[in-house]
């Protein structure tokens, strides 16, 4: 386990050494700040609009951080040939993969936490309340979603070229987030065999949209029952394990030179 956490530690250190997160965070602060300064009909209590913009930026940028961080792990190790001294140590390939995953996931979690703290401050400055429970649920589920994306990206990074991997994962993630929940409705109006294929895709894909609590947070809906949040966490972990296992299997047989 120590070996896995050692690899993960390197990944986390890499995140705060690189400038990606800082740039994206500053961009979020700037855009949200501009929205905050906008005056609509001399009403300074309008908040949902700002929450919407801020959360949208957090979702986009967190996805960018997760995909780009995870996508470069294995390819950069191979490119710089540091993978060889790493694997020469008493560490197996699946431990490297698991370490990379935990590192990326934790790094995304830290970045996400900072984003959500900023979001909470922005929201509280206008609403004068801080629904900690709801924001924690939103953060937690968002983090589970990023875990699935990170696992998918790691699988892609051992099967595809880095550029293709990033593109494919972005297309898949955004596609699932925007249309994943409606595929079964589309299938209803299709003819065979398209209907069966779309229905099968609907049941196979990880439903990332299940982790999206944005609408509930923006419009001040009450907390999601904790049991449902727990079930969603289980659902997310199952997909993470699946993709991670697949990544380990591919990586185990992968020629590194």
């Amino acid at each position: 386990m120590n070996k896995i956490f050692a690899v993960a530690g390197v990944v986390i250190r890499e995140l705060y050494r690189r400038k990606d997160f800082y740039v994206l965070f500053i961009l979020t602060v700037l855009i949200t700040g501009l929205m905050w300064l906008m005056n609509f009909f001399h009403d300074d209590r309008i908040v949902r609009f700002i929450k919407e913009i801020c959360l949208m930026l957090i979702w986009i940028f967190s996805l960018v951080i997760a995909v780009t961080t995870a996508a470069r792990q294995i390819p950069s190790e191979r490119e710089s040939r540091t993978i060889f001294p790493l694997l020469a140590k008493p560490i197996t390939r699946w431990q490297v993969m698991l370490g990379k995953f935990i590192g990326c996931w934790l790094a995304c979690g830290v970045a996400l936490l900072i984003f959500y703290i900023f979001f909470g401050l922005v929201s509280a400055s206008r609403e004068h309340t801080l629904p900690v429970g709801a924001y924690f649920q939103a953060f937690w589920l968002h983090w589970q979603m990023l875990g699935i994306v990170v696992a998918m990206t790691l699988l892609g990074s051992v099967a595809l070229t880095p550029a293709a991997n990033v593109t494919v994962i972005f297309v898949i993630s955004i596609g699932i987030l925007s249309m994943g929940g409606f595929l079964h409705k589309l299938a209803e109006h299709m003819t065979e065999p398209s209907a069966s294929i779309v229905t099968a895709i609907y049941f196979i894909i990880p439903h990332l949209e299940l982790f999206n609590m944005r609408e509930l947070i923006i419009h001040d809906w009450p907390l999601v029952p904790w049991l449902d949040a727990f079930a969603a966490t289980g659902y997310g972990l199952a997909y993470m394990c699946f993709f991670l296992l697949a990544a380990c299997l591919v990586f185990r047989r992968k020629a590194l030179n």
Binding site: F41, D43, R45, I46, G181, H184, E209, E215, H219, A231
Partner: protein, 291 residues
């Protein structure tokens, strides 16, 4: 070296000449734009009306606190010819199926825990949350009169901001100066909020004149139901004029407008009742004067 320097000077001169040639053309083009000085509108070009529509719908989404059918739900619902989409019965705490229908599978059922699944409307001052989308929509499509009228309604009726409503309506009038809807809405502010009856009367009369100019040439019925004459607006304008004259104490003038309204009204009996009441009032007033 000398050649390079001369080439640079030549290039600078060419750049300056092209810029001097382009500048007046750019100025003419930007002054012809519907929303000059709006960077967002400039960036979106003709697509801004589509974005304006989207923002207008977004305001409605906010009014329903996020409980709103997606394009897929709308398509599905249209196919099923389900009647009441956007206004099923008001939420009462129980989970409603509404436009969503019954869950089709466990993913659908489980997913409903993470999205708004109950029909509610914004209450009281929270309606302010819709306003940014309305303003952005109006900025992108200033010719869309409905945006101004609806926004002014919320500003006045729910938020008590008649000054802001007036400013916004005047902004709309700058883009569509002959809109009877905008003039009528503005007249209402002067009648109901300011109690400035002469000013309100002028605005209602201007609205009436514009109605005859804009609406009268339109047909009373069309096959698709689009582009028909807005007779309801005429009723509202005449009703506003009658109310204004009554408030100003010109009862006979008010009676004349009500008579005019009766010929155009969708509910002539109701207008007749108003006429009878006003006539009784006039008689009572005359009796007092005689005594």
């Amino acid at each position: 070296m000398r050649k390079a320097l001369l080439s640079m000077v030549l290039l600078l001169v060419i750049c300056f000449s092209i810029e001097a040639w382009l500048q007046p053309r750019y100025e003419t083009r930007s002054s012809r734009e519907e929303t000059p000085g709006n960077p967002l509108a400039g960036m979106l070009g003709d697509g801004r009306k589509m974005v304006a529509d989207y923002f207008y719908v977004e305001a409605d989404v906010y009014f329903h606190s996020g409980y709103y059918p997606s394009v897929f739900d709308q398509a599905r619902q249209q196919e099923e010819q389900d009647s009441d989409v956007s206004h099923p019965s008001e939420g009462s705490g129980e989970e409603e199926t509404g436009f969503m229908g019954k869950p089709l599978d466990w993913i659908d059922a489980f997913g409903r825990h993470f999205i708004p699944s109950r029909h509610t409307h914004l209450q009281g001052e929270t309606v302010r949350e819709m306003l940014p989308w309305m303003e952005l929509s109006a900025e992108l499509d200033p010719q869309r009169v409905q945006t101004y009228v609806v926004t002014a309604y919320w500003l006045r009726r729910r938020l008590g901001k008649s000054a802001e409503a007036e400013d916004f309506l005047r902004e709309g009038l700058r883009s569509t100066p002959h809109s009877p809807d905008l003039l009528y809405a503005l007249g209402q502010i002067y009648l109901e909020d300011r109690k400035d009856y002469p000013h309100a009367k002028n605005l209602f009369l201007a609205a009436l004149r514009c109605w005859h100019e804009v609406e009268e040439p339109k047909p009373l019925k069309t096959e698709t139901g689009e582009g028909v004459r807005n007779t309801l607006l005429l009723e509202q304008i005449l009703g506003g004029l009658a109310e204004d004259e009554e408030a100003a104490g010109n009862l006979n003038q008010s009676l004349q407008y009500l008579e005019q309204l009766k010929t155009n009204a969708s509910d002539p009996a109701g207008v007749q009742q108003q006429i009878d009441e006003l006539q009784a009032k006039i008689k009572a007033g005359a009796g007092k004067t005689n005594r």
